[in-house]
């Protein structure tokens, strides 16, 4: 993914048209919140939101990783020593994530190509779990607000991990 850098002079004058990777955090965390009492809590959607948050948490780590690799000067031992640490923290974070399989698929589709027709693999992978758990709740109830609170907690935790 191309990232607009501050140099050379003037490069930033035009904002980059948004890619999903740039805005996924605002899509998930911002925007009008319809009251829980008039909203339907759709379990399938709640799970999606959690999955997507995990992807968001990884994006900044990936960007940092890409940059660290780009900067890497093999001759300088100091910098090279920092990399295994970074690597370790990323892989341990990944191992803790229960939804790693879904994450891989989601990551590809979120930040990969734009072709919707190739969704099938991704769907198979994450969809099987979805199908069993989706559409359990179509009642308007407090459960909507409590489960969204749950996913918020999850997101701040994954943020700390990254």
């Amino acid at each position: 993914m191309a990232v607009a850098h501050a140099t050379p002079r003037g490069y930033l004058e035009r904002p980059r048209p948004s890619g999903l990777a740039d805005v996924i955090d605002v899509i998930l965390d911002k925007g009008l919140v319809v009251d829980a009492y008039v909203r339907v809590s759709l379990i399938g959607i709640e799970i999606l939101t959690i999955d997507a948050r995990i992807v968001v948490a990884s994006v900044d780590t990936y960007l940092r990783f890409a940059e660290a690799v780009g900067r890497l000067d093999i001759a300088q031992d100091d910098q090279a020593a920092g990399l295994p640490d970074l690597m370790e923290s990323i892989s341990s974070g990944g191992a803790e994530s229960k939804t790693k399989g879904a994450l891989e698929g989601a990551k590809e589709k979120l930040f990969g190509d734009d072709d919707d027709d190739s969704d099938d693999d991704d769907e198979k992978e994450s969809g099987s779990r979805r199908r069993s758990s989706s559409r359990s709740g179509s009642s308007r109830s407090r459960s909507g607000s409590s489960s969204s609170r749950g996913s918020n907690g999850r997101s701040s935790r994954s943020r700390k991990e990254s």
């Binding site: 501050a6 980059r16 948004s18 919140v33 319809v34 940059e67 969809g127 989706s134």
Partner: protein
């Protein structure tokens, strides 16, 4: 009317007269349509909740809003908002919150969101922290000479001092970026940076015809901080960060 058993996924709210004929495909692969009431329109599609995929649905949600906001002021609704029926959308959202929604639409008309994320060059940041603090530099030398366990507590102390210094830097860099750009924006919001390597995460609400001026200010800021911070400047976006409002149904919707 949608068939029985289906629910309604809500993308956003816009003035009814700006609601173009939406032919987009939305979440769950369904066609996007509008529900209108008294000058307000909601962008919606059916949803059944089977076989949803995080990647596909988030992307669909985003596309529908991107498309709609090309020629309209759109209040984006939080991802994953589902209501029971068209009638619920009409009564409990468009009618019930008409004043609130109308007010927001008037306030945001002709304005766009521009986002600015600053990422530290971590090596440069740490070098600067060491260069600016004699006590950190001294302790760093001491820790270097102590092998393994002997320097354990010194290392913790050193790390703590660096963390405090980095936090101070964050605050300072965020404040100066805001001071630089806020005069060109209608409103500004500073979000919590997503990691210690992020210098700032800012959202600005800018008049559509002020985007060029704002961009020049961003470029100037970018040059100013180039040694330490790389800026990602993205937009224009629907005003996600400025519609971060909870609509309260109140008691009326319940009885």
């Amino acid at each position: 009317m949608p068939p029985a058993g289906s629910l309604v996924y809500v993308y956003g709210i816009l003035p009814a007269e700006e609601a173009a004929n939406a032919s987009e495909t939305g979440v769950d692969g369904r066609a996007v349509r509008t529900i209108t009431h008294d000058g307000l329109a909601a962008l919606v599609s059916e949803v059944h909740g089977d076989a949803l995929s995080a990647a596909r649905e988030v992307r669909a949600h985003w596309r529908v809003l991107e498309k709609a906001s090309e020629h309209a002021t759109v209040l984006p609704v939080r991802f994953g908002t589902v209501m029971e029926s068209d009638d619920h959308v009409r009564r409990e959202l468009l009618e019930h919150d008409a004043d609130h929604l109308g007010g927001l639409l008037r306030e945001l008309a002709g304005r766009v969101q521009l986002s600015l994320k600053g990422d530290y060059d971590e090596d440069a940041l740490l070098r600067e922290v060491v260069a600016r603090s004699p006590s950190i530099a001294t302790l760093r030398e001491q820790v270097r000479d102590k092998p393994g366990a002997a320097g354990y507590y010194d290392r913790i102390q050193l790390g703590e001092m660096v963390a405090a210094e980095v936090a101070r830097r964050h605050e300072q860099d965020e404040r100066s970026a805001l001071a630089h750009l806020q005069p060109l924006a209608v409103r500004a919001r500073a979000e919590q940076p997503s990691s210690h390597a992020q210098a700032f995460n800012l959202a600005f609400l800018v008049e559509r015809d002020g985007v060029d001026d704002f961009g020049r200010a961003v470029a100037a800021l970018g040059d100013q901080v180039a040694e330490l911070i790389r800026i990602r400047y993205v937009g224009p976006l629907p005003p996600y960060s400025f519609t971060d409002v909870e609509l309260s149904a109140g008691s009326a919707a319940w009885v």
